[in-house]
Symmetry: C2
Subunit: 344 residues, 2 copies
DNA sequence: TTTAGCACTCTCCTTACGAGAGTGCTAATT
DNA sequence: AATTAGCACTCTCGTAAGGAGAGTGCTAAA
């Protein structure tokens, strides 16, 4: 069905390339002149007709040049795109930025977003890594004012949750520390289910802390992703794909409304293994907001343990080769960093 | 110099109001018809001439209606704007949203951004509270893998910093806890300067931890603001003030590039006391990116101890009354919450 | 199968023109 | 002195018409 001759593939690739560059319909003459094809424009037009019948390109109007269709981009991405690896100088610069200051995720995640945005000239998104299984690692109780206590909960994988508790009475820092230590001894590496199954203590302080721990662990479990980092918004402001559509249907709403974003991520990249890059073109009939956009996503982290997600969102007319390479590169980089600094 | 008659003030207010509503030049006839002025259009035009001479309004072209100038908005905001308090039902709903789940800042700050964006139909920004003086509150050392240790540092005010340390050798969790306790006993409430002045220990573990603590405290001290939360970006995508300008000059760049934002905040709201609302109209000659925009900012928190900042960024043509009220209201709300949950 | 040649179509730019909105000015009125 | 009715004037905006140019589709020849 989709058996294109190699010449047809070349022509489709060139149309995609040229249209990405100029945002204009591509004429047959442009192809042979600018890309040095040794065939005539009439031949190109004949091939274009075939491609149009297959649904890969279309004419905005009679006697206009050709524009790739959604299907055309899909075919291009799945069969024709050449991953134009980032120049090694660029790769070195980026790697260096990540490794020069081993400050940790709070530094790396915004940096990853910034790098992706710059490389792709689109909007980038990066989520903090999130554990597959929620398990207790460490707790700390810090007396603050009166009966108010700051609880800092560290989970296996390194997620940190904090909560301010208003306890029923004033406890000394000493007894708080003692209680925390009990929890640390008994709960280390225990999963949420295991903790829930334990015989509850009768001591009021322990009970209150336990409730808070379970509460936080439940909250964390329900999270689809960790914290979200965006960058490159100003890259797409002027593109018609983002601005023109009415506010209700803006692709950016997908990034601002967490339920929408969670839905998108759950149904795409979260079903994939780590390392695979997924390309979503034109909303795939499911997301109206993405009608004129494409999303490139990947998962990073450690399979079955800890993973976050990153990618870019841009107009459908996008340099896919570069963009896919950039996403893959930054994803691998973050996977390495997460592996090095895993808290287990 | 700027002594307007009360009728001139009314006319200016009406022009601002009508232009905010329609985004069109305002005709003299529109004013008397839609707002029921009991004077003739010719009189209104005479007054308009006076206002134009004072530089408060201008004509896009001869024989067109009038549009407020930057100066006009400035006068309007400083002398004429009426704070249209949020309807009490809205206030209750919002307050309820904040108080119903006392989850803490990680919940309140995005909520504040969301509320501001909805109320103003502009972009909102909220920064996490940041201490005026950096002081040690509590430290925790958690053994993870091999010689890797997770340090969790809590500062007075409640800021939490984490860092993964690669120590020179493997220490047991016991000795780590012991060391942490030493720090907690000796350093509580000590400022960065006080800690730096202390006689250094000779024990290698203590030295390494101390270096990390000082490092994190220095990093925190250099921070102008805490973490940044944005919302409402899709509100402004379609407005010409944001989209039309070229990418380099987009007002959104000010929000994406931290140095720019820090500069803006340092030179405006950070010089003010908590509670005051500052309105920046048209970049005030300093920020080219804001040529067609206005920014409304306030500081929240506890004077001289802990403060963050919040506000909105929208087109210059903006319902100032509502926007200022919303910013003030949410600011006060966050101030109360921060006061209630202060870690001291 | 490829290609030269050419008529045809559609966009886009320019010009022209009229309707309509809104003003500025003058002279009359309060 | 302040206000207003009246009216000519100016500028925008929408529509229509015409022409240039880009690009195609098709046919017939190579």
């Amino acid at each position: 069905m989709t058996d294109l001759t190699s010449r047809q593939k070349i022509i489709l690739s060139l149309i995609v390339h040229e249209h990405t560059r100029t945002a204009q319909p591509v004429a047959s003459k442009t192809l042979i002149e600018d890309y040095g094809l040794h065939i005539s424009s009439a031949t190109v037009r004949n091939e274009m007709n075939t491609l149009a019948e297959l649904g890969f390109i279309r004419q905005p109007h009679t006697s206009a040049g050709r524009v790739p269709t959604e299907e055309g981009y899909r075919f291009f991405v799945s069969k024709l795109v050449q991953q134009t690896a980032l120049p090694s100088a660029t790769r070195n610069t980026i790697t260096h930025q990540f490794y020069q200051s081993r400050r940790g995720l709070d530094h790396w995640l915004p940096l990853a977003a910034s790098v992706l945005a710059n490389q792709s000239q689109a909007v980038s998104l990066v989520t903090a890594p999130h554990s597959e299984k929620i398990a207790f690692k460490h707790i700390e109780l810090i007396s603050t004012r009166g009966s108010q206590v700051l609880m800092v909960l560290v989970l296996v994988g390194g997620e940190i949750r904090q909560q301010l508790l208003a306890l029923d009475e004033v406890y000394s820092q000493e007894s708080l520390s003692q209680t925390a230590n009990q929890f640390n001894l008994n709960f280390e590496n225990k999963s949420l289910r295991q903790i829930e199954a334990l015989e509850p203590s009768t001591e009021p302080l322990v009970l209150q802390i336990l409730a808070a721990i379970l509460d936080q662990m439940h909250l964390t479990e329900e999270l689809v992703t960790g914290e979200l980092f965006l960058d490159g918004l100003s890259n797409v402001l002027s593109t018609p794909e983002f601005a023109a559509s009415n506010q209700e249907r803006s692709p950016l709403r997908l990034l601002e409304e967490r339920p929408m974003l969670n839905d998108l991520l759950s149904r795409t990249v979260l079903t994939e293994d780590i390392g695979g890059v997924q390309v979503l073109i034109g909303g795939e009939g499911t997301w109206q907001e993405l009608r004129d956009c494409s999303v490139i996503l990947t998962r990073y982290g450690i399979q079955d343990q800890l993973s976050g997600m990153l990618g870019i969102l841009g107009p459908m007319r996008m340099p896919y080769g570069q963009a896919i390479s950039a996403v893959r590169f930054v994803g691998d980089l973050l996977s390495d960093l997460v592996t090095d600094t895993l808290i287990e």
